[in-house]
């Protein structure tokens, strides 16, 4: 950890950073929290470990909103954070020269929703990691789990645990966890009948309370005005009618098609543990198969939805 802090201090000075987006220890066990520091003197607060779950690229969009006041930013980046930064730069949301990507090796991060589910309403006061095992301690109980049981589904299938594009990389690159094949969960789901699939989505999305934590945690959801917030015209109903709720989720998935980096921030942000990832992963699969495009890997390739190639598969056009 000291190495991270020392390196960051150097980078702060060398790169003349005015803002650094990173993680610090949170107030709950197994929860880190984002921190925005403006001086190298605060670098001592920084941490990076498997509790650093949020996608920090999201804060670049906030910085952009400062307009002329925007600062030169450094960002601590897991593989997925870095891919989101690349995608934001490609989409013209941030200038490449104003963001310093500081890659860190990621061995998977805790999904707070999964943790809550495992604890069934209880809370922990401490934890201990022992290799691949983790022991959770609460008031009057102890729970031993495999570490992977708490990691985000996105991490279990992640192919890019290290930043692919970066200015600095701190630490030894991590190996993909490879617990699950990229699209295994999607392929499995596709075997079900349409009725079964619909029943699943109906069950999941009927839990939605429209708090929009998923949207707001997403680095790719940066629209100045989201279609659900638009009142002239009003595109969808605002109550918790299931059809309106599902339209919100479907449109969000279509809107992030070919842009989503599968960081899992949406699912992790959901207070009700809704499986938000399934639809997005299915669309990602479509983009990969049809256009051979993976979001956020380099600064040159035009995103699938922004490019036309005469060799694109078009068998769906009559």
């Amino acid at each position: 950890m000291d190495k991270l802090v020392e390196k960051i201090k150097d980078i702060f000075a060398d790169e003349k950073l005015e803002l650094l987006i990173g993680y610090t220890k949170g107030t709950l066990p197994l929860r880190a929290t984002p921190i925005l520091i403006e001086s190298a003197d605060d670098a001592g607060k920084l941490i990076f470990d498997f509790t650093c779950q949020n996608n920090l690229a999201r804060y670049l969009v906030d910085e952009k909103k400062r307009g002329g006041d925007r600062r030169r930013v450094g960002i601590i980046a897991k593989g997925c954070d870095a891919r989101a930064v690349v995608q934001l730069v490609l989409e013209g949301q941030f200038e490449r020269e104003n963001v310093v990507i500081i890659g860190v090796p990621c061995r998977g991060v805790v999904d707070p929703g999964k943790l809550r589910k495992k604890l069934a309403g209880r809370e922990i006061v401490n934890f201990q990691v022992n290799g691949e095992k983790i022991t959770l301690f609460g008031n009057g109980f102890e729970l031993e789990l495999k570490r992977s049981e708490l990691l985000s589904d996105s991490c279990l299938a992640c192919r890019y645990p290290n930043a692919v594009q970066y200015n600095y990389f701190i630490g030894e690159p991590a190996e993909p966890l490879g617990v699950r094949d990229g699209y295994a969960s999607v392929d499995e789901f596709e075997q079900k009948s349409p009725d079964e699939r619909w029943a699943y989505f109906e069950k999941e999305y009927s839990k939605c309370i429209r708090c929009y934590a998923c949207r707001n945690a997403c680095p790719m959801c940066y629209c100045e005005e989201c279609f659900v917030d638009c009142s002239t015209p009003q595109w969808i109903g605002k109550g918790n009618d299931l059809s309106d709720t599902i339209i919100f989720h479907i449109v969000r998935v279509l809107h992030t098609a070919g842009r989503c980096v599968d960081c899992g921030a949406c699912a992790a942000a959901c207070p009700l543990n809704i499986d938000i990832r399934m639809l997005g992963k299915r669309v990602e699969k479509e983009v990969t198969e049809r256009f051979g495009f993976t979001a956020g890997l380099d600064f040159e390739t035009q995103p699938a939805m922004a490019a036309f190639n005469e060799n694109d598969k078009e068998e769906f056009i009559m």
Binding site: T27, T33, Y59, N139, I209, C211, N216, A217, S231
Partner: protein, 346 residues
């Protein structure tokens, strides 16, 4: 008037709830696909009383997230106020029971009575279940509450192992309990057990900070850079607001088609940009800093000013659900520290 405390063997709970169901629509915590929330308890359905704190607060029992106010067709309107049996809420935690008292001050103002709230809330009975094991994120004891507080309850229920104790708090609670044959009078020993559980639970929460000067400190920090700091990582979602038992702001919408439709009211959140956006396009709370300040000031300053106490019951849901771990307890401590640091300048 001294009221008797009653006792119910756990095995008889279902029968008791059936009895309650004769006069009331019973709402209790129910688990569905990992989510525990209050809903109408169907015959034979098991309640999730073991669950320390429901994911959703019980406010939607009296104040649904989406509520039809009336139907209309051309110029005829049909009221849609609740006309069902009175509601009994079983298994609300003391923090949640207290939230009804706070919400009531808003919905049942001396001058205005909200008919939708009143239709559900009037004649309702609240059985709150004391917390033998408060969670680490609970902080009801900071806010004049406690794991065994009976504010807002008609009956306080305590789990004493093989049985529940029923302590009547209101006369409505007492009159219902005294009408149920299967309840026995609690013995001295039973009451002692409950007393021990109470002491243990209170002790486990530690000594709370004193919040007497919180409002004054906050008011003095209206323009402080503190707000930039706290809001810098806020995502602007409503995970806090919608999981909060005391947030009550709503929006009103018409959903109509060809002259027919409904007027609905639905929960809204001051964290959303649209919340205060005016018709002209001007937004008096243009960024998350202003919106977050509104939420915290409302709870710890404006509500105090208008209603005489804090608009927060310390249930800890926002602490647990905030996607970026903005911890309202830390915020409160931070306010005191900042106020102290500024002491010399004032």
């Amino acid at each position: 008037m001294e009221m008797d405390t009653y006792k119910l063997q756990k095995g008889n709970l279902e029968r008791f709830l059936q009895k309650l169901g004769e006069k009331f629509v019973v709402h209790a915590p129910v688990e569905s696909d990992g989510v525990v929330a209050f809903s109408e308890l169907m015959p034979g359905q098991e309640s999730a009383l073991y669950f320390p704190r429901t994911h959703k607060p019980p406010k939607d029992v009296f104040y649904p997230q989406t509520e039809v106010m009336f139907h209309y067709e051309k110029d005829i309107t049909h009221s849609a106020e609740y006309k069902g049996k009175p509601i009994a809420l079983f298994g609300a935690r003391p923090c949640d029971a207290k939230s009804f008292v706070l919400l009531e001050r808003v919905f049942i103002d001396p001058k205005y009575e909200d008919p939708y709230w009143a239709a559900r809330r009037n004649n309702a009975l609240v059985f709150s279940l004391a917390c033998n094991d408060p969670l680490p994120s609970c902080f009801c004891n900071w806010l004049d509450g406690g794991p065994f507080s009976n504010t807002g309850s008609d009956v306080l229920v305590t789990d004493i192992g093989d049985a529940y104790l029923f302590e009547p708090i209101s006369e409505n609670g007492e009159s219902f309990l005294s009408s149920v044959d299967m309840l026995k009078k609690a013995t001295k020993k039973d009451i002692e057990k409950a007393q021990n559980a109470k002491e243990r639970a209170e002790l486990s929460m530690g000594e709370p900070p004193k919040l007497d000067s919180l409002k004054v400190s906050l008011d003095a920090l209206w323009d402080d850079p503190l707000w930039d700091k706290v809001s810098s990582k806020c995502l602007g979602c409503a995970a806090c607001t919608y999981s909060c038992p005391t947030c009550y702001c709503f929006d009103i919408q018409d959903e109509s088609r060809r002259g027919k439709g409904v007027r609905i009211r639905l929960w809204d959140s001051c964290m959303f940009p649209l919340f205060t956006k005016e018709g002209s396009g001007h937004n008096p709370r243009p960024t998350r800093k202003y919106r977050l300040r509104q939420r915290f000031m409302h709870k710890f300053s404006y509500f105090v000013e208008k209603q005489g106490e804090f608009g927060c019951v310390g249930c800890g849901r926002c602490v647990s659900f905030c996607p970026v771990n903005i911890d309202i307890r830390n915020f409160i401590i931070g306010v005191f520290q900042t106020a102290q640091g500024k002491g010399g300048e004032q």
